[in-house]
Amino acid sequence: MTTEASYPRVTWQTVAREQASAVGVSLRREGALMLGALVLLTVLFTVALVRHQSDGNGPVSLNLDPSILFPVVILGFLVPLSVWKGEDPSRREYHWAMPIPRSSHAILKVIFGWSWYMAAVAGVLIWAGLIAIATGGDLGIGGTDGVPLWRWIVPFAAATIAYLLGSMVALGSEHPWAWYAGVVIGFFLLAGTAAAANLPWLLDILGAIRNGPFGLETAITGEIPIPREVTTSWGEVRTMLVGVPALTPWIGAALLWLGLAVSGVLAIAFRHRER
């Protein structure tokens, strides 16, 4: 009989190395697509700039701004679907059958998916920085006129929140797309119902979830909506909600959503633990 002590078991270090590599392979196609998109954008920028100058206009410089990363942050909701592709809960037996604790194994995979995704976010940032340098634009780092340093952390934190929320769906649901569609449609249906039925308390709740001081939008953009008087292009002065960067509310919102997302991922991963 083979005893517990005598039987060789894989080390976490080996599993981590393999997971990093395997998750990287699973994201290779998406990585290639992103690289292709950046190349295409670079070509389009170049053509537009050359045309602009050949039309007798002066040079154009593109400044680096954290908001450039917003589309990549939104992709964070979808990246976990690629990390767990072909492995919705009912088809995850291969993963569960590995000779290591399942919950930690699942969390490890989430972590390596996150690492690759963060590398991609950084890659896009570097690309945008190179475009700014090439066009003589402002890198916007520090200084009294530049973007405050904390605002460069916002896209990475936002991407992490999006990725972890997406991981909850990918880990826990057989039908992630139905969840995404359900949440968006449900939100707008509730908002529409609240407006039609004159339910201000429900509108307040939905508003707080979306862009309140602790809302998801605040956590993802680092801005809070402030009512400002804005002059429209046709000269009318209107009061509108304008996003204004605000460090303290962002920290609160980011910590809240990070906490919720981390707790959700842990709760779902530990559903299948050995007991």
Binding site: V25, E93, Y94, P99
Partner: protein, 307 residues
Amino acid sequence: MSSILPTRLGEDPLAITTRSLNKRYGKIAALIDVDLQVPEGAVYVLVGPNGAGKTTLLKILLDLVRADSGEAEVFGLSSRSDGPAVRARIGYVPEGAGWGYGWMRVGRVLEHHSTYYPTWDTEYAERLANAFDLGMDQKVGKLSKGEARRVHLVMALAHRPPVLLLDEPTDGLDPVMRDETLGLLADHLAETGATMLISTHLVHETERLADHIGVIRGGELQAQLNVDDLRRGLRRYRAEVPTGWTGSPTLNGSVLRRQNASNEIQWTIWGDEGDVLAQLKGSGATVREAAAVSLEDAALAMLSRKE
């Protein structure tokens, strides 16, 4: 159903044990009080029709399915609470093709699998891959059922586990590859002395390997015994009977299968051959033949027994 057939093995040390295992899927009982006993080093063939509970039983041993009640152990380790340690000792061939990552190539999935098993024998894996004629550059998700099964067999065998759980291991393989697979399993046994639990409904294929058999039907383990005991205890009797013969009432409970052919009747009966012959003769039947049955016929007789 109370069984006249043995459902408990002797005192041999056991590699796999389950105690009063129960599992329901909604209103359907998949397993009912199953006490599986697989001795160390045995090749135990678990026979049953589709939906009998074989796959569920194997998955409970890997903790891929959780039993509603009861215990499952491999080498004394609980499948539930010592899952990683249990799974480290098991090579598993699943019933379906969806095993491994469909988007990986065969070579990469074998490499991936190997990292989880420090006992992985690269040379042996290459030997198996050659024997199974695996194309390493094919995507796992694009493999046919037979090709996928061959990959699964390499994954299960190449880390030389002390326990193999094989769920319909030859399903989808062509006759030549089936023969090759059974030969490789025999070699594996000879080299490692592993314990093998094979779930199948194609008993004849495993006849040359099997030394224990378990019969499961409707979630109940109706028999489990050593194949030698089975061959001794279960015999086919062919006899001529007089017109209006009403049978031997004392034998009825032991008859597993009865077939009529002109004025002859053929029974498959569990019990001591001398006693059975005496009872048949005593009832007026003229016994023409008493013969051993093949494992497949034995399984068929046990499975077709009416309650």
